[in-house]
């Protein structure tokens, strides 16, 4: 349709575009420029070229932060997808009881990360936590999960899985509605057992949904910050220092704007890579439809 006046479309888009450009487009450019300076917020900025990037790369900090973030994300994505799919298959039934269980699992996705992080911190507490007590009763060695450099990151991932499984379950449930009953019944008539029906009918039809859950959960877990800030502050021995927390630390604890900006740029590049992956997956999905 033609607008009534030529300026109408831009007046309607104006506020949205201005806000989006100011707070989401320009900041990336500002960070890219800022990453070339050394600035402590007090003395004037000093141009250092690629110095910030080299400093971050030299100590292996950038690589380690990146790998840690990928490791956390890999655990969260595989965990939420496996459990989410399992729960979707299990709970895709009529009846109030199954509806109640679906709501219980999904509720964790709705509750604040702060509440979830504090709750799990209490349950994982080395001395008085219920999880530790349970492990001791089962005869496992007494370790404080959050205080152990080897266990802290997987422990945070477990919390992430608990929080986010409801999301993947709901999306898988929506995907299951697209699997025709008739197809499953035909397969059953042909003598296919439950596993074969899942393997050869449900799974191929669910593949696009799985790809969607995988990429969106990956982006979500890349942005993890609250669990780290509340539960471990990046410790012990930096074992849980994930990307966003590393940026936060650089600017607010070390007052190093240049390095924080350089990390921001690196984080953005990582997000772009995931977005590229996402785009390919969605395209493939569009063709499959």
């Amino acid at each position: 349709m033609n607008p009534r006046a030529r300026w109408h479309p831009w007046a309607m888009l104006g506020p949205t575009l201005a806000l989006l450009v100011t707070f989401f487009v320009l900041p990336i450019g500002v960070a890219a420029v800022g990453s070339l300076y050394s600035w402590d917020l007090l003395t004037p900025p000093r141009f250092v070229g690629t110095g910030n990037y080299r400093a971050l790369a030299a100590h292996g900090e950038l690589l380690h932060v990146g790998l840690r973030t990928l490791g956390y994300s890999a655990l969260v994505v595989t965990g939420t997808m496996t459990i989410g799919l399992g729960l979707a298959l299990l709970l895709d039934r009529p009846g109030r009881f199954f509806g109640f269980v679906r709501a219980s699992v999904f509720s964790a996705y709705v509750v604040s990360w702060v509440a979830v992080a504090l709750l799990w911190m209490w349950m994982l507490d080395g001395n008085s936590g219920v999880v530790g007590k349970l492990l001791r009763v089962l005869g496992a060695p007494a370790v404080s999960l959050l205080g152990d450099p080897g266990w802290a990151l997987p422990a945070l991932a477990i919390v992430g899985v608990w929080k986010l499984t409801g999301y993947s379950m709901i999306v898988f449930l929506a995907g299951l509605q697209g699997v025709p009953r008739a197809l499953l019944e035909a397969a059953a008539l042909d003598g296919a057992g439950a596993w074969n029906r899942f393997r050869h009918v449900t799974m191929p039809l669910l593949a696009p949904t799985a790809a969607f859950v995988a990429t969106t959960s990956l982006v979500t877990s890349f942005q993890a910050f609250d669990v780290v800030r509340i539960m471990t502050q990046g410790g012990p021995a930096r074992a849980t220092e994930l990307f966003v927390y590393a940026i936060y630390e650089q600017i607010f604890l070390d007052l190093s704007v240049g390095k924080a900006s350089a990390l921001t740029v690196a984080f953005f590049v990582l997000l772009l890579a995931v977005a590229g992956l996402q785009l390919r997956v969605w395209r493939a999905r569009g063709e499959a439809r």
Binding site: L19, F23, V101, V105, V110, F225, L271
Partner: protein, 272 residues
């Protein structure tokens, strides 16, 4: 397909286990919040408090100004959700229905912003706000989220399926463009807008990251920050108080979830 009784019972058992895995932690939070400090010190994993003690809740209200933080949080979340919808409607209308040069570019900007989370922009935005003395104000909490790329995109998608004839008829009747957007089209998009509002409200009510980096003092502190501070304050961690704070923080969203479960679930499920 008829399920065998054994298989049905097995599903029931597994579903019970799932419910336990998600409900027992909540129960533990509530149980702990009704204990007293001596009880927790004596036996931290006792399954039930000796008697219901509201001391932890009184302590929460005495330590942090719960009502003020809650008021700030709800005001912020409502302001963001309302602004997002108010701005997404005309923007989505222009992108879905109007023909003009530069439309592809404008839509491209919106799509690109879908990829950029606040975590990738907070350093420059914080510096900008610090320079302009906006840190520690409601503006710093609300303005960056006043326009939502996702909201604009979803409103545009919803408007694509509204027939042009409705708009043409409204124009014939002499309705202005803004009347058409807010009075004619908005009511037709009600389910989309309700979902958008709820998802946005819940997200920003819960948000910890942005208020944390944009506030350095108490002036516009939100409830999630206040509850997280309960753990950092004082000597020794008093978990019954922290859990009481957790209950206070979670109850409003859980109540909203119970009331509007269909909308929230659909918003998440339909986006795929």
């Amino acid at each position: 397909m008829k399920e065998s009784r054994a298989r049905y019972l097995m599903s029931m058992g597994l579903a019970c286990a799932a419910a336990a895995a998600w409900l027992i932690p909540y129960a533990w939070m509530v149980v702990t919040s009704f204990k007293t400090l001596p009880e927790i010190v004596a036996d931290p994993t006792a399954p039930l408090p000796k008697h219901l003690d509201g001391g932890a809740y009184r302590e929460v209200f005495a330590t942090i100004p719960v009502a003020r933080y809650m008021g700030i949080t709800i005001f912020m979340a409502v302001a963001i959700a309302a602004l997002q919808i108010g701005l997404a409607l005309p923007a989505g209308y222009a992108l879905a229905k109007l023909r003009f040069a530069g439309k592809r570019f404008a839509f491209g900007v919106v799509l690109a912003c879908l990829l950029v989370p606040a975590q990738a922009t907070f350093v420059p935005v914080f510096l900008l706000f610090a320079k302009t003395h906006v840190v520690n104000t409601m503006t710093a909490l609300v303005l960056p989220f006043a326009a939502s790329a996702l909201g604009t995109f979803l409103v545009r998608q919803a408007l694509m399926s509204v027939p042009d004839e409705i708009i043409e008829a409204a124009r014939m009747d002499g309705a202005g463009e803004l009347t058409i957007v807010y009075r004619v089209l908005a009511p037709m998009l009600k389910p989309t807008l309700v979902s958008l509002f709820l998802v946005s409200f819940v997200f920003h009510y819960n948000d910890y990251f942005w208020p944390l980096v944009m506030t350095t003092d108490d002036s516009v502190r939100t409830l999630p920050l206040g509850v997280a501070l309960l753990r950092e304050q004082g000597t020794g961690v008093r978990w019954h108080i922290v859990m009481a704070g957790n209950v206070v923080l979670s109850l409003p969203v859980l109540a909203l979830f119970a009331l509007a479960q269909k909308h929230l679930v659909r918003a998440v499920g339909a986006r795929s």
